[in-house]
């Protein structure tokens, strides 16, 4: 078994074991064990990867290629580069944190953890796929458990939100399918065989008109899950209704599939299309950045605030990807990671606050710093990280994006950049608003004076997420170098 | 082969027969009448097969055989249909087509 397939096999085994568990205690232990090992493997992967690329200068390493459907030339083909390694680690961390946060999942615990792990299978598989078909398969596997997770364990209008989220995401993936088929049937443009292999297709000169036709389809297909304006509306409702761990996993990891897919498929395989269309999607994403931030200001539900903030932050990812240069790309990947950790942390904290106060309405909360100081303090830190304070990962990512975006000296791109940059102010406004209303000020409700203090498993979850945020923020160089090395192949097409 | 009458005329007749059958099927209110209309449609085809065989391809008897099978099958079909209709009649004492509209939308 090669080390990448383990990333899929291990969670599958975890699921199989979970099937035989009888109660919450057993289920969470199994889930914890599974995700711990997974995290261990992910961290191990970083080091083996670094070692490997010293001697191996292939675009993807640790590749494994097994023919699956030979008539369609579909392969089970996996491999990683720096980008996917980083995202795998993100996933492993968020999943583990999610297990910790769900420590007290009373209702149908077994099913909950199974769905959670199945979701993570999809994500892991997506990140390691080289074959478009397998990638698509894993993409859908990652999306569909969301329906059950939100629908069964959610709160509020859970059925509606779950349905909306699933339909919009599956609708997007359906559109994506057209794009993938379009790419597939043009992968023989240079006279080779039809193939789904990304690395092979990247070598093919797909006709320019075809690229221009299929780029927007593929882009939108992926970008919907990356919360591209105006297709982001599944996310606020979905996040608001989802149980904590699911919000974490969804915002933290699943939404990253969008950016990654856009990058790995749309931009990498259809560079001419990207050049042709980038202006349009830059307008959309830059608008989304500022729009999401503004929309977040007036929300009163904590999860909505965070969801719109995700729209804004992930808009920045797409924006950066479309800038088509290495610096911005690097920033986009870093932003994906950073947003993954931050937003997961946010949702974890919101979940804890909600679990104690039973409300997410900021106007009803107040003075929490006094009552639950640890959670509140971390919330402040997360807030500061989210508004791009130096020393946290968000800053590094945003600066890369802005510098990269500025490399593009077309005046319209510049204006887009300035608009996107100005979101940092609006971000500060909505973050500080929440901090001011909810955490500071007088305690509004007598009942809140005796809230339960933070528990050990919650602390563990928080630290797991906080640590990388600070680590990336303080010492970004090693990570950014890891990613930068993997960006060169992408650059060829857009030059 | 009927002297003085070309195939076109006969085919026109069978076509009319066919559409009469269709018309009957659509407009009759009694299930039995509808069944009779179906017979018209089948008979149009039967005549067609025979005529085409006789006028155009007289060297083989494919059409004629075909029409015999059609007649046989049509008989079976009718028998079956009537039996089901009778069953309905036992339940509701009616064979009006408007009685079989309970399942819709």
């Amino acid at each position: 078994m090669d080390i990448l397939s383990l990333f899929i096999v291990l969670p599958v085994l975890t699921v199989l074991v979970l099937v035989f568990t009888k109660n919450l205690k057993q289920a969470r232990i199994v889930a914890l064990a599974g995700s711990l090992v997974q995290l261990g493997m992910a961290i191990n992967l970083i080091f083996t990867y670094i070692k490997e690329i010293e001697t191996n200068d292939a675009i993807m390493v640790f590749t494994k290629d097994v023919v699956w459907f030979k008539n369609f030339n579909i392969h089970y083909n996996i491999g990683v580069d720096g980008i996917s390694v980083a995202l795998l680690v993100l996933t492993a961390i968020v999943v583990l944190a999610g297990v910790f946060i769900s420590w007290k999942m009373e209702d149908l615990p077994k099913e909950f953890f199974i769905s959670l792990i199945v979701l993570s299978i999809g994500v892991y598989g997506f990140f390691i796929s080289i074959d478009l078909f397998t990638m698509f398969v894993f993409f859908e596997i990652a999306v569909i458990p969301m329906y059950l997770l939100i629908g069964i364990w959610g709160t509020g209008p859970r059925e509606f939100s779950a349905m909306k989220l699933t339909l919009m995401l599956m609708g997007a993936s359906a559109v994506l399918l057209v794009g993938i088929l379009g790419i597939y049937f043009n992968s023989d443009a240079d006279g080779g065989a039809l193939t789904f292999n990304i690395l092979e297709i990247a070598k093919v000169n797909i006709p320019v008109e075809v690229q221009r036709l299929f780029f927007p389809i593929t882009f939108i297909g992926f970008a919907v899950i990356g919360a591209l304006f105006p297709f982001h509306t599944w996310s606020p409702d979905g996040h608001a209704s989802a149980p904590t761990a699911v919000s974490m996993l969804h915002a933290g990891v699943l939404m990253k599939l969008g950016g990654y897919g856009v990058f790995r498929v749309a931009i990498y395989l259809l560079p001419e299309g990207a050049l042709h269309w980038s202006w349009f999607f830059i307008i959309l994403s830059a608008f989304g950045v500022i729009y999401g931030a503004f929309a977040a200001i007036k929300q009163t539900d904590l999860k909505y605030i965070n969801a719109y903030s995700s729209v804004s932050h992930l808009g920045l990812v797409l924006f950066a990807l479309l800038m088509l240069n290495k610096t911005a790309w690097n920033g986009a990947i870093l932003q994906s990671l950073s947003h993954g950790f931050m937003t997961a942390l946010f949702f974890a904290l919101i979940g804890m606050i909600y679990g104690r106060t039973h409300t997410r309405d900021v106007t009803k909360l107040g003075g929490l710093l006094k009552v639950i100081p640890f959670i509140s303090a971390v919330y402040v830190i997360a807030g500061l990280a989210s508004l791009g304070l130096p020393g946290f990962s968000g800053f590094v990512a945003e600066m890369n994006i802005f510098v990269g975006a500025f490399e593009n000296d077309n005046i319209y791109y510049r204006i887009g950049t300035v608009i996107a940059v100005s979101a940092i102010v609006v971000t500060a406004v909505y973050i500080l608003r929440v901090v001011g209303i909810m955490l500071m000020g007088p305690v509004k409700n007598e009942a809140y004076l005796n809230l339960e203090r933070v528990r050990w498993y919650e602390k563990l979850g928080i630290f797991l997420l906080l640590l990388p945020i600070i680590a990336i923020g303080v010492a970004p160089l090693w990570l950014s170098e890891l990613i930068l090395k993997s960006l060169d192949p992408f650059l060829k097409g857009v030059l | 082969m009927i002297p003085g009458i070309s195939i076109y005329e006969i085919l026109t007749v069978t076509s009319i027969l066919f559409f009469i059958g269709v018309y009957g099927f659509i407009t009759r209110t009694n299930l039995i009448s509808i069944l009779i209309s179906v017979e018209l449609i089948l008979n149009a085809s039967v005549v067609n097969f025979v005529i085409i065989n006789k006028y155009l391809f007289p060297e083989a008897l494919q059409g004629v055989y075909f029409s015999i099978f059609i007649i046989a099958v049509a008989a079976a079909e009718t028998a079956l249909a009537v039996s089901i209709i009778i069953n309905l009649y036992r339940q509701i004492s009616s064979v009006e087509v408007k009685e079989i509209e309970t399942m819709k939308y």
């Binding site: 509306t233 007036k298 130096p390 600066m399 802005f402 940092i424 500080l432 000020g441 | 407009t27």
Partner: protein, 639 residues
């Protein structure tokens, strides 16, 4: 010179912060205060050692003070653009190190008394250390991005400290306001950085500031809307500086920032953080001076002058002593900006630059002192307002004396520190632009007037209605007062121009007697006037105020800038755009998506009649469908 020691200067407070922050619960308050003070004592010692070794031991090489840099890559953007982390030692950095160390140390000591018994004592010291670390980092930054990073960090420390009394709504609001306004200004800064990075290919101060470097020489190569792109960048960067230094019109956060604990106001909002803007312009002075013949620099000068005047006028009308001091700070910062703005580059031309830095230095001492005195007063009577004060000189002799010294210093009475630095500024302005000089002079008079207005109001006049007898503050608070008072007296005698000048070569300054006399006269006039108005309770001041009528009301309300901003933010941005965006999202964007879904279901409902349940309808559809298909097929075949 050993840069490792310099690196230690910021690192010590960082370690203190981490220790206090992580073991927040475990450390006893009494210990945390000592930890903070001790840490800073080390840093201060190192700062002085650095100053000594930089100016005296190493001294000038080839006639100028060399810039010493030590850095390491932190983040690579492109092949040429990257963020380095490191330390840069040059005269103004060293000067700032001293300022930050001294004031911070004093504030640390003072706070041990002032904050005694506060539940968040440890947290407070942790934040102070965080701030000090950030400020050191800002001062020692080697490149634009590094300075931006620490710029943001001081901003957030300021946020945390203003909002220190977080259960108070006004404190929370003030903290938010301070952060958001400066953040808005930082937006300009950031874009400025991006522009500079793109056009010059570097963020390093050394390269950027080199008068023969590509950045400065090629400024004319690019233009945007009539100006060089780099000029735009400098203007944008100045906006950043203006935000931090509370220049008009981004000043609105500073008065509110007084919601924080008073020592914090002294440290952050009087002496150190707010001068960061001035420091930033000084740091990039060669660029400002050379690019487009100092176009951006002129803007700096005029904004500075206007702010100085504007703030001084408001200061006269305020009744909250901390606010008066806050406006005073603004006014003095305007002075510094003005001085930078009128400065030249070489030799004596650089007088403005030098005087700006000089004033920064002396102002830090006496303004911190003023704040700490005010803190001492507030500590005693638990009120910020003049109306609650009066006649305190009997109860608080030390505070009284030190406040007086500081007031005299800010009023520019010789031979106190303020006199020297202010005089140099006026000389520089006089040599550059008579108009600016007149404004400066007028402001000097106003400064003396308002500062003595509160001095008399606090310590003289009718005794306030005290619930319990006010008493002098404890030794831990008065000691820093005395030290700062001492510094305010002698600070002016440092031969600043020897050490600091734009070209780093240093030059000789001489007292320009006529101008000095005029300035002193203006100051004394102000003092005398306020003596007449406020020494005793009388009607004069009110009458006088009424004489100004509307203008007074406007000034009292800070020219309604808060309301204007409130209007723009609350009405237009929040209620207009933000609510609009939220509504638009719910109603139209989401509405469209949901609408598609609903429409599908509706369509389904509408067409259900097709499945009528009538077998004859089915037959009709069957035949019709076949006929239509046949027609289509035949049509296709014919075409």
């Amino acid at each position: 010179m050993n840069l490792n020691l310099v690196i230690l200067i910021p690192l010590i407070p960082l370690v203190v912060f981490l220790v206090l922050g992580l073991f927040y619960k475990k450390i006893k308050p009494s210990i945390s205060g000592y930890v903070g003070v001790l840490g800073l004592l080390f840093s201060t010692g190192l700062a002085f050692y650095t100053a000594y070794s930089y100016f005296i031991e190493i001294g000038k090489t080839e006639g100028i003070y060399q810039t010493i840099v030590e850095k390491t890559a932190w983040m690579n953007f492109t092949d040429s653009l990257r963020i380095d982390m490191g330390v840069l030692v040059d005269p103004i950095a060293v000067m700032m190190l001293i300022v930050v160390s001294v004031i911070s140390l004093m504030v640390h000591i003072y706070s041990r008394g002032y904050m005694k018994g506060d539940p968040g004592y440890t947290k407070y010291f942790a934040f102070l250390s965080l701030f000090t670390f950030s400020m050191y980092g800002l001062v020692l930054a080697t490149n634009l991005f590094q300075i931006y990073i620490f710029w943001e960090l001081v901003g957030v420390s300021s946020y945390l400290l203003i909002g220190y009394y977080y259960t108070k709504e006004s404190a929370v609001a003030a903290a938010k306001k301070a952060f958001v306004v400066t953040r808005f200004a930082d937006l300009g800064f950031l874009i400025g950085i991006l522009i500079i990075g793109y056009y010059t290919g570097t963020y390093d101060f050394e390269t950027l500031n080199n008068p023969e470097g590509t950045g400065i020489l090629n400024w004319a190569a690019t233009s945007f809307m009539g100006l060089s792109a780099l000029t735009w960048a400098l203007i944008l960067i100045f906006i950043g500086g203006a935000g931090k230094s509370a220049m008009f019109p981004l000043h609105i956060w500073l008065p509110d920032a007084m919601e924080g604990p008073t020592p914090v106001s002294a440290l952050i909002h009087a002496a150190t953080m707010v001068v960061a803007g001035v420091y930033l312009v000084a740091r990039l002075f060669p660029m400002y001076y050379f690019i487009e013949d100092g176009f951006a620099l002129n803007i700096v000068a005029f904004i500075g002058a206007f702010t100085a005047l504007f703030a001084a006028i408001i200061a006269i009308t305020q009744t909250d002593i901390k606010r008066v001091l806050a406006f005073s700070t603004m006014s003095q910062l305007g002075y510094m900006m003005l001085a930078l703005g009128v400065s030249g580059y070489e030799g004596h031309e650089g007088l403005g630059f030098m005087s700006s830095m000089f004033h920064l230095f002396t102002h830090a001492m006496f303004k911190a002192l003023l704040f700490l005195c005010a803190g001492s007063v507030i500590h005693a009577i638990h009120s910020n307002f003049l109306k609650d004060m009066g006649g305190l000189r009997k109860y608080m002799p030390i505070t009284n004396i030190t406040f007086l010294i500081a007031a005299l210093a800010i009023a520019g009475v010789p031979p106190l520190a303020g006199f020297w630095s202010k005089d140099e500024i006026l000389v520089a302005a006089f040599e550059h632009n008579l108009f600016l000089y007149v404004i400066g002079l007028f402001v000097a008079g106003l400064t003396a007037f308002y500062i003595f207005r509160i001095y008399f109001g606090i310590f003289w006049g009718k005794e306030g209605n005290y619930k319990e007898k006010p008493h002098e503050s404890p030794g831990s608070m008065t000691a820093p007062l005395l030290i700062l008072a001492f510094l305010s007296i002698v600070g002016g005698f440092i031969p600043f121009s020897e050490f600091i000048s734009p070209d780093k070569a240093g030059f000789e300054t001489h007292l320009n007697l006529p101008l000095a006399a005029i300035a002193v006269f203006a100051g004394l006039l102000g003092i005398v006037l306020s003596w007449i108005f406020y020494k005793r309770e009388n009607e004069l001041a009110d009458k006088f105020a009424k004489g100004f009528g509307t203008f007074y009301t406007w000034a009292y309300h800070k020219f309604y800038f808060d309301e204007l901003y409130l209007f723009v933010t609350k009405r237009i941005l929040f209620n207009g755009i933000a609510r609009g965006a939220a509504k638009f999202d719910k109603k139209y964007v989401d509405g469209t998506m949901i609408g598609i879904g609903n429409q599908t279901v509706n369509t389904s409902e509408k067409i259900k009649g097709i499945q009528s349940g009538k077998v004859q309808d089915y037959a009709f559809a069957f035949i019709a469908g076949a006929v239509v298909l046949a027609i289509i097929c035949i049509y296709l075949w014919l075409n």
